[in-house]
């Protein structure tokens, strides 16, 4: 279980997180919604220890990872995968080398076994045969999917997705959502998904959380969110420009 309590983070004078409280249960998919620039990516980076909070804790299985030293953080990261908003592919490596990176580094699998895993993951994200392309030869959506394949290559228990389906067509979005659901069913993956795509959020989220103004202002199942009386929630899911939610 992941428990985030009172997480605060500022960059210079700018307060980005002002006391985030969240619980993510094992095997659950939690979707985080929120306006652009509210700090969703910053929140994900705290959960995998890339950023240190000014205040507050991130407890994973009862241990505060913000206090971890490098060794324990690395051990934890072996169990986690992250898809970056920008995909963050290593642009000097091929698609295959990108996906194989963790396997080469941390396992003793043979080259052939690694090649099989890479091809299998590429097939799962709908890019069979892309092994030898360079990231610069890929479209935005293809990069995203290679990033996804890299994030799931080591079969992590916890996956953080930063906008996995942004830039994908509706059919591919649906296919990626199904991949997400099957990973969850097959491997019991716990996941936190940041997305702006409400259809996708409803399909994959066990619960949805609305992040606004540096806090989690609402959290609940799809039905609870859709029927929420909170005007912030209603404005956000209807996508209305007028309302209590002001753009930054």
């Amino acid at each position: 279980m992941i428990i985030i309590s009172n997480l605060c983070k500022r960059f210079g004078p700018k307060e980005v997180l002002r006391g985030i409280n969240l619980k993510i249960y094992d095997g659950e998919s939690l979707v985080i919604l929120g306006p652009s620039g509210c700090g969703k990516s910053v929140l994900l980076k705290h959960i995998i220890g890339l950023l240190k909070p000014d205040e507050g804790q991130v407890l994973i299985d009862g241990e505060d990872i913000t206090k971890f030293d490098q060794k324990r953080l690395d051990a934890l990261r072996m169990r986690m995968g992250m898809l970056f908003q920008s995909a963050a592919l290593f642009d000097s490596l091929t698609v295959e080398e990108n996906i194989a990176f963790g396997l080469r580094k941390h396992t003793n699998l043979s080259d052939l076994a690694i090649h099989h895993i890479v091809s299998e993951k590429l097939e799962m994200v709908g890019l069979p045969g892309a092994n030898h392309l360079m990231p610069s030869e890929l479209s935005g959506g293809m990069r995203k999917r290679v990033g996804l394949a890299r994030a799931i290559a080591m079969e992590p228990e916890i996956i953080l997705y930063d906008e996995p389906t942004t830039g994908l067509d509706p059919i591919m979005t649906c296919a990626i959502d199904e991949l997400h659901l099957s990973l969850k069913e097959r491997l019991g993956v716990t996941s936190i998904v940041v997305t702006h795509d409400l259809n996708s959020a409803y399909r994959i989220g066990d619960r949805l959380a609305l992040h606004y103004g540096g806090r989690i202002v609402a959290i609940g199942t799809k039905d609870e969110i859709i029927n929420s009386p909170d005007p912030l929630v209603q404005q956000f899911i209807r996508g209305e420009a007028k309302g209590p939610m002001t753009l930054l």
């Binding site: 963050a88 290593f90 941390h106």
Partner: protein, 263 residues
């Protein structure tokens, strides 16, 4: 106040560079002990550094050797000291000019490209991605570049010496009217092994400086493409300044060492 700020910035910079240097050493030892040192990465860096710098290093070495012989050759010929030309020129090259000039050329060519490459990785979150895959960026990125620069600067300095002497000998024979034997004998009689070794030791230190400074500038890149540009030029300027400053202390140190132990 401005002076204080400058001093503080310099101390911080010096400290950060020292830390990055120590981390590279730590990860090298760690890699050797666990047998997981990235040899292939190191080889890739070495060949890249060598191939990219070789043309410029060759031109620099050749022209420096040739010019030195012109400058020194006529003067010495007037004094009837032709048989010292090769010795003096090779000593100047080996002790001072080859390591310094090679260092400056490689700082411009490789220091900048390391800063640009790592800077781009930084701003496109590739370094964050490395960390999420339980990989230390110093181990993965700095160690091969640090050793690549250190080793290749020594190799390239040897090239500069050799090419410089070839350039010098061509001028000596065709312009000054020395015979090849006079020139070569003069080198063999006057150039001592410690002149060469001292110069190569300098090259090694310069290489380490270029590697650490390039990586440091890359890692501390902020902002978009403009930030990468700043880091790139910053790396070159800083590396050349460090090379020139450190060279003085190295020269004094090597001279003291030679007089104490070798004479």
């Amino acid at each position: 106040m401005i002076l204080l700020d400058l001093i503080r910035d310099f101390v911080l910079l010096f400290g950060s560079l020292a830390i990055l240097f120590l981390q590279s050493i730590y990860w090298t030892i760690h890699g050797l002990r666990t047998g997981r040192l990235g040899w292939k990465n190191l080889m890739d860096q070495m060949s890249r550094i060598g191939v990219d710098s070789f043309p410029m290093v060759a031109i620099t070495g050749f022209s420096t050797g040739a010019v030195l012989v012109v400058q020194i050759g006529y003067q010495f010929a007037q004094l009837g000291a032709q048989r010292y030309v090769g010795g003096v020129v090779s000593m100047a090259m080996a002790r001072e000019l080859a390591p310094i000039l090679t260092g400056i050329v490689v700082a411009g060519r490789i220091g900048s490209s390391i800063a640009a490459e790592l800077g781009t990785m930084k701003i496109t979150e590739q370094i964050d991605a490395l960390e999420t895959m339980a990989t230390n960026p110093v181990d993965e990125l700095v160690v091969p570049r640090f050793w690549g620069c250190t080793i290749m600067l020594v190799v390239l300095t040897i090239f500069t010496n050799v090419i410089g002497m070839i350039g010098g000998s061509i001028v000596a024979v065709n312009q000054i009217g020395l015979t090849m034997t006079t020139f070569v004998d003069s080198i063999l009689q006057n150039l001592k092994i410690q002149d060469l070794m001292g110069g190569l030791f300098k090259a090694m230190v310069f290489g380490a400086l270029i590697g650490v400074i390039g990586c440091y500038k890359g890692f501390t890149t902020e902002g978009g493409a403009e930030g990468v540009g700043k880091s790139t030029t910053g790396a070159v300027v800083l590396a050349i300044m460090f090379i020139l400053a450190v060279n003085y202390f190295l020269t004094v140190g090597i001279n003291n060492f030679n007089t104490a132990y070798l004479s």
